[in-house]
Structure formats: structure tokens, C-alpha cells
């Protein structure tokens, strides 16, 4: 069976006033039906850029140099605008960080959900209204009839994110892309939101692509995790495997810098160096400048994938 979402060797740059930013290089990733895949990396690693490209929503300054994105067989990078618009919101939906600003501030939240349903379904009038209430109660918003009449500023951040999820799931999409969905929410709300996302995935066999900088969060909720660094995917593995046996030096450092219930502050290690400037000429392995295992061979192109275990691949000459 082919994957629901297949990103194949995608390379993408931004042409800016200050030079060309090589945001993604040779990125490949698949998401199967019902699967929750995490993409983890520091901010600026290109994970959000990849997510937007998957929706065909890349910035006007973005230019795809190679590769393609197939969603259920549809070529997302070359599809006609109306085909893309019909797919977005119905087949693939997205939720964002800072839910408060992601909702239209001067439109009632029920109306915003209705906008999506109006566009993608045949529900009208009372049936439409019932669907809106249904969507809100599915994400366990108490008193949905009343909340549907509220404006975003009248709701808490967590409640707004629930509305976002309700909106994203209103048309029962096959894929949900969640871009840092819990950033900016308090810790208890984070867990509630993530439990909700997982439950929705499980009950409706919806696939989820979770974009996050938090390896701990991804470890808790994902089936598989891809680690991104400076526009490259450097390692990809089933969650248990990745957490137990990280093969890429960057993944190991990322793990060491992630707090778990058993670590103390003293155990946490920060990753030395910073992301390379993506406008400059870059080495084959973009982590090499930060890596203590760097050897001359690392600088030879192309940088190959090494399969260290079934389903566990790493892009490193000297894996752990």
C-alpha cells in the first residue's frame, strides 16, 4: 500500500533580498494511513517550511528546485489552485501555534467552522448549524451552542486551539498537519490538546504529521519520528527505536537536551554551536561544524543514508 503523504527528495529555496536561503535539501518523508509521524528540530530547521509545502501553501518567495509531494496521488506542488483549495480543509487540514491569532478575530468561531463546512460539504441551514455544534462537541468544548457564538478573544488559548482542531477536523480529513500545536499553551492544556489529537487520529484512522521542537512531546505521541537539522532530515526511525538507540550525533544531543521525568537540570546538555547560515555555501553534512565525530569523509558528496535497523535510517558517515 502506498503512503498517504509522500515527500520525495524535496529541495526548496527562498529567494530574498539578502541572498538565497537553502531551506530544504533532498528531504524525503512518508506518512501512512492512521500513522502519527513527528518531525522534530530546532526552530529554523525547515520543519514548518516542509509542512506548508505539503499543503501547497509555500511563501511567494519560495522556489522548488526539485522533488515532489504526493498526497493521495495528487501532486501538491503542481496541482491547479482550485484543486488544491478543494483538497485543503477537506482532505488535509492544518492547525497552528498561537491559536488566538490563527482565528479571525472579528468572526464568531461557529461561523468560521461553518465557512469551512460551507466550502467543502453540502450541509446548509439547520443541518450546517448542527454540524458546527457537532464539530465543537467532538473536541469536548463544553456548552458548544453558546461557544459557537463566541469571538476568539472571549475564549482561552486552550479553548481556541480546540476550536482550531474542531475546524480542522470538521470535514474528517485524511491527514492533519499540526504545526507546534501546543506552543504557548500551559502544560496541562498541552497534554489535553495532544491527547485529543491522538484520540482523533486513532478513532477516525486519520494520519497526523506533528511538527514540534519538543522531542519529548513527539516521543510521547508519535509512531515514528524524523529529526531535522538545517534543512536536512538527518534521522528517521520508529519512536521507541529512536529514543533507545539514536544513531545520529545530533539526535543524541537533542535527546540529552530534552528533559524527562528521570533527568535533573544538571543532566541536561545544551547543543554546542548553532544552525549554519543557510545563505552560505554549505558542507555535505550540515551538522559537521557542530559535530565532534567529524572526519574528512563526511565532506564528500553525496551524503548517503545508512540503514541501521529495519525502518531506522540515518544520514551520517559515522553513526553511533
Amino acid at each position: 500500500m502506498s503512503a498517504l503523504l509522500a515527500i520525495e527528495e524535496l529541495s526548496l529555496v527562498f529567494r530574498t533580498r539578502h541572498g538565497t536561503v537553502r531551506a530544504l535539501e533532498d528531504v524525503s518523508l512518508t506518512v501512512d494511513r492512521g500513522e502519527i509521524v513527528g518531525v522534530v528540530g530546532e526552530s529554523g530547521s525547515g520543519k514548518s517550511v516542509m509542512a506548508y509545502a505539503a499543503l501547497g501553501l509555500q511563501d511567494a518567495a519560495a522556489q522548488v528546485l526539485g522533488g515532489r509531494i504526493l498526497f493521495g496521488g495528487l501532486d501538491m506542488l503542481n496541482a491547479a489552485p482550485d484543486v488544491l483549495a478543494a483538497t485543503r480543509g477537506r482532505e488535509v487540514a492544518m492547525i497552528f501555534q498561537s491559536p488566538r491569532t490563527a482565528l479571525n478575530p472579528i468572526r464568531k468561531v461557529g461561523q468560521q467552522i461553518a465557512d469551512v463546512l460551507l466550502e467543502h460539504t453540502t450541509f446548509r441551514g439547520a443541518a450546517l448549524r448542527a454540524q458546527v455544534i457537532e464539530a465543537l462537541s467532538r473536541v469536548r468544548i463544553p456548552d458548544p451552542e453558546r461557544r459557537a457564538e463566541a469571538y476568539p478573544f472571549e475564549l482561552s488559548g486552550g479553548m481556541c486551539q480546540r476550536v482550531m482542531i474542531a475546524m480542522a477536523l470538521a470535514c474528517s480529513p485524511a491527514l492533519l498537519i499540526a504545526d507546534e500545536p501546543t506552543t504557548g499553551l500551559d502544560v496541562t492544556t498541552q497534554a489535553v490538546i495532544m491527547d485529543l489529537v491522538r484520540e482523533m487520529s486513532r478513532t477516525s484512522r486519520m494520519s497526523t504529521l506533528l511538527i514540534t521542537h519538543d522531542l519529548g512531546l513527539a516521543g510521547e505521541y508519535c509512531d515514528r519520528i524524523a529529526v531535522m537539522h538545517a534543512g536536512h532530515i538527518v534521522e528517521i526511525a520508529p519512536t521507541v527505536e529512536l529514543l533507545a538507540r539514536p544513531a545520529h550525533p545530533y539526535t543524541r544531543q537533542l535527546l540529552a537536551s530534552t528533559p524527562t521525568p528521570r533527568t535533573t537540570i544538571a543532566d541536561l546538555v545544551s547543543i554546542p554551536g548553532q544552525l549554519p547560515d543557510l545563505r552560505q555555501e554549505l558542507p555535505a553534512c550540515r551538522f559537521s561544524a557542530r559535530c565532534e565525530r567529524h572526519i574528512p569523509l563526511c565532506d564528500e558528496r553525496p551524503l548517503p543514508w545508512t540503514v541501521v535497523a529495519p525502518g531506522h535510517a540515518v544520514r551520517c558517515r559515522v553513526p553511533l
Partner: protein
Amino acid sequence: MHFFWKRLLGTIPSLIGVVLVTFLLSHALPGDPAAYFAGPAANATSIAEVRAKLGLDRSLPVQFLHYADDLRQGNLGNSLTTGQPVLSDLIERLPASIELTFFALAFAVVAALPLGVWAATRPDSIVDHSCRALVSIGAAFPTFFIGLLFVYLFYFLFDIAPQPLGRLNEILYTAPPRITGAYTIDSILAGEWGVLRASLAQLILPSVSLGMFALAPIARITRAAMLQALGSDFIRTARASGLPTRKILINYAFRNALLPVTNVLGMVFSFLLGGSVLIEQVYGWQGVGAYAVTAVISSDYAAVQGFVLTMAFLYVMLNLVIDLLATAIDPRVRFES
């Protein structure tokens, strides 16, 4: 509707301030109103008589109370030039000014909103650059100069506009029976379509010249607000939800951009009400502005004060309308207050 009353009450301090300022302008400033009202042939005794008659010999607070009481009774004094009560002079001419200002505003809004939206959806395109050029140039043209240029171009050179001599060519047409005082509305009510056509023809040049100056700030702010709205997170959400471009542009971006636009309307009305004085002068428009200019030149005190008071009152009310409009657009405003 509790909200509406609160806003209405909020205009009271402004109105008190306006009355106070017009009072000060006419009573507490250099120059002797008594000597002035007594006329050029007056001597000391007759001036003193006038002073006592006008109550100018009493203390300022007492004078203010009298002034306020006169206002309450609608007594703005008599005009020296027309010999009529100022109030009836103003009521007679106000519809003409309001009609002109309304058409100018309509022109400015109808031209500026699409222009600003268009420019914002195509940043750095030719449309965008021409919008910005038009905004800069429009802001630099004095209203009266635009008015005169239009007369020269469209009346003298191209001969497509009627003679700029007032609201109606009185030789060919007679004014419709007065109901509202606005010729366009009255001629519709009377069913006199020829008069309607003629009065609209007279209106076009003055209202476009007056509207030009208001066009610049509206287009400028529409463009900026649209750019900001289009770059915001909720537009990204709407696009990610597959909403059609038209709906995103109108229901999402434009509605949000309207709030800054309504906020600039206050300034626009200030321009329009001030500019209408100059435009009425250029086009021989028989409104309150032209009346006031005559009054100012001939030192007709009461008429000028009445005019200033009327315009300020109108402006305060317009600001109230703008406020209510902003509340209708943005629910947050209602909750902030």
C-alpha cells in the same frame, strides 16, 4: 443598546467644549464686540448701551450662561449681512453643504477602497506603485487648486461639464419644491428627472474635487491595513482550510482592514467639512461654507460663530456615527469600553 447610550453620553463633554470655545471666541478675545455691534457711527454712550443690552458688562460666567441659554432656544443671533436670524440662514443653506460633502465622501470611499485593496493584493506591482504615487500627489494638492484645475479642464477646455455656477442652472431649471433641501433628493421626490439630471451634473465636479483630498488618506490606510491583514495568521488558516480566494479577501482580510479605515474617517470628515468651504467658494455653491466666507470677510460675527458651532456639532455627531460603525465592525471594541 446600553452601549449606544454610553457612546451618546460620551459626546456631551465634546459638545460642552465646543460651546465653550465658540463662546470664548466671541466674548473673551481682543476687540470690543460692543463697539463692533454698535456700528461705525457709535460714540461712547451708544457703545455702553449696546454693551448693557448684550449683557457684555456682566461677568464672563454669567455671560456664558446667557449664551448657553440662547443656544438652547436656538438663538444664534442675527446676521449683519442678510439681516436674518443666523439659525434660519444656516438651515436654509446646510442641505446644500451636506449634499456636497456626502457625494464627495461617497466618491472618495468608492474610489479609494478598491484602489487600496487592489494595491495591497499586488505589492510592488504597477498598480501598487501608481496607488502610492496617487496618494502622495493627492495629499499635496490644495482642494481649491484641484477645484479650479477641474473647472479649467472640464468646463473650459473639454466643455463636458456645466458652468460652475452653483447647484442648478437657474435659467433652464427651477429648483424642486423644498422638502429636504437637497436638490437630488427633492427632485426625486417631486419626480422631476430633468432637474435631477441637471443637479447631478452640477454636483460631479465639486464633489470629485472635494473627494480627491479625502481619497489619499483612505487609500493609504486601506492599502496598509489590507497588507497587514493579508499577512496575519488567520489568513493563513483560511487558506489552509481551502476557503475560496474571494471569501478570504472579503470576509476575512477586508473586514479586518475596515477597522483602521473607520478610524481614519474622523480625520477625513475634518478635511471634508473644512475643504467644503473652499470648494463652495470655487463653484459658487450656495452652502454654509460660502455663507461663512462672506460673513468672515464682512466681519459678520454672529454668522461666523453660528457656522463654526454648526460645523463642530455636525462633526461631533459624525464622529459618533464613526464610533458606532467601528463597534459594528469589531466586536472587541464593544468589550473594551
